[in-house]
Subunit: 103 residues, 2 copies
């Protein structure tokens, strides 16, 4: 699926790391909140509060979860899970488009 | 209204000017297409094909339409119209959040 249907979209974007990460918040009919975003070429460290699943929808990235030594590559159609109260480093050489699922 | 309801959202973002402008495409129930985006601090020149109305939803910008000598400031809740096959310069000192209406 290349698009979400029947959703609400918050007009104001979420801008992180001086704009290296920009997302818009989606509210689904069942009350679920997701963010739809893009990470521009950079290496960033994100922290989580709730558990997250990051689903790639375009581009590629390399990810190292907190406590791991290996980086792992993820592309479109692939996902990685991050526990609550944790962090991950993400390295992108090109724009990486994602959906972030919470909880 | 701080959000769009009952819309479709294209998952892949539109990334322009090395990420200084990032938007997501919205498809409304009536078939209308809009883009919801943010311009990061920069001065950019956009060209239009269809006429556009840029509606600010957060932050401020200064705009100079093609052929004009004056810059004009626009903030949240304010809009400016750009004719088809034209251009405008936009200068943002902070993130400027917008909805672009076409046609």
């Amino acid at each position: 699926m290349s698009q979400f249907d029947h959703v609400s979209v918050v007009k104001q974007a979420n801008v992180y790391f001086d704009g290296k990460c920009v997302s818009h918040t989606l509210l689904l009919a069942d009350g679920t909140r997701k963010t739809l975003g893009v990470i521009l070429p950079s290496t960033l460290t994100f922290t989580t509060q709730a558990p997250e699943v990051m689903e790639g929808v375009g581009g590629v990235c390399r990810v190292r979860l907190q406590g791991e030594s290996q980086w792992q590559a993820y592309g479109a159609g692939e996902s990685f899970a991050v526990p609550a109260d944790s962090s991950f480093e993400i390295a992108c050489d090109e724009a990486y488009h994602y959906v972030c699922h919470f909880g």
